[in-house]
Symmetry: C2
Subunit: 279 residues, 2 copies
Amino acid sequence: MSTSIEKPENEVQNIELLSSVQDLHGGVTVEIKEPMDSKLFASMLGTSLSHWRQQGKRGVWIKLPIEFSNLVEPAVKEGFRYHHAKSDYLMLVKWIPETSDTLPANASHRVGIGAFVMNDKGEVLVVHERNGRFKGTNVWKLPTGTVDEGEDIWTAAIREVKEETGIDTEFIEVLSFRQSHQSFFRKSDLFFVCMLRPRSFEIQKQDSEIEAAQWMRAEDYAAQPFNQKNENFKNMDGICLTKSEKDYTGFSTMSSTTSSGKRIYMYFNNRDFEPSEEH
Amino acid sequence: MSTSIEKPENEVQNIELLSSVQDLHGGVTVEIKEPMDSKLFASMLGTSLSHWRQQGKRGVWIKLPIEFSNLVEPAVKEGFRYHHAKSDYLMLVKWIPETSDTLPANASHRVGIGAFVMNDKGEVLVVHERNGRFKGTNVWKLPTGTVDEGEDIWTAAIREVKEETGIDTEFIEVLSFRQSHQSFFRKSDLFFVCMLRPRSFEIQKQDSEIEAAQWMRAEDYAAQPFNQKNENFKNMDGICLTKSEKDYTGFSTMSSTTSSGKRIYMYFNNRDFEPSEEH
């Protein structure tokens, strides 16, 4: 996995070839873990590529921690392109065969939630945000937020409501979702409207993001001029009110454990389908 | 410097400061469009940062096309971190204030679809894939694929079915979706099971990805040992069969146009809610 040299007899080979790990798709991954001179790296990379080409390798991945940013340029000069980046590393990739590549795509969507929290008096939990699109507009809106990488949608809804307003909730259903594009650096957005049931009622708002928070009569919330004029808001609100007044079935969750031991959540209409096992 | 100078006052400024565009969040964006010497860039970046700090700027973004990868190292040395990358560029960012940053997150999720296409005889469209998890397993599975950046979920389902099997379809509903984590470079996945109605019936499979494709009796599809053993598949199949045999309402689409002229799709239960405007 690293370029460190353990035994002298390996030294010649280690200088010539970058150490790499094979993947399940006929490719290899190089993860740089020690500082390297960029000229030495360029030379080893060239030699390694010839070797991998002879072996019939397909995708070659190089994971470069940000502290080794001196190695970006030599990799690009060898024909690598960027695949994705996180704060602390850059992943580069090169497809060796002549055929078109079958490399996996990078993440394409940001995921957000809006939380519809209604108490027994028919009041909805709403906020004024300090920043963003609604700053200074006086529009009362549902608490919203971003679903973190690795976080479940229903968990994110509970977390955001707690963070912004101090209210404890339990998740009921995804009432609707919408997809939009070109929202941010050409990426796409998925936004899930979640219905939650409050388990506490005293608001303790977050100072940094939230200007004000309150319980507001649902009709007054929906009657705000902005919500009436904006078609998306009008329909989103309409679904929330239908849910609270009449009969609307969204998608509730069912958890299950995969063969590899991961717990995953499926979202579906549980009025119309009864799962084979309850969790 | 001995050649004639048309506007000396601009030249001095151009050497000292990188040109930048202000954003709506109190920050600036630098987009490098011409080759630059890395030492000159480092010097200009240092001077520019002092200037932006004095001006009270917050987030500083640098968009570096891949052909200028020589400038990655000097940017990192000035305290920039990676934000995201596409094939052809790397976006770096630095938060100037002492406070914790409010920079937007990168995309966190890949989005996929599975297509449940059933004909009037109660047969489901299924495939054997050449690569991936089911390679060589003899499991008949629903056509699946990745939703591209900027692509709608319902469009992606129609496209994948057409590409893999040659069958034309129309979109009916999202029947269920599931979220999983740590699937790929620590990213999360959202997978939408879509019901489609076939509009053509003669299969013309794609050679490169698909080993075989056929119409298969729904009961035979669901009775495959793999599908019976895997809890997720069992429930997913169960929902598909409930939809085809009885009464199951998923989420259908409604399109609307935002104030900025973008068309977006909302997914919701249209048996229980009637939108304010039809499209």
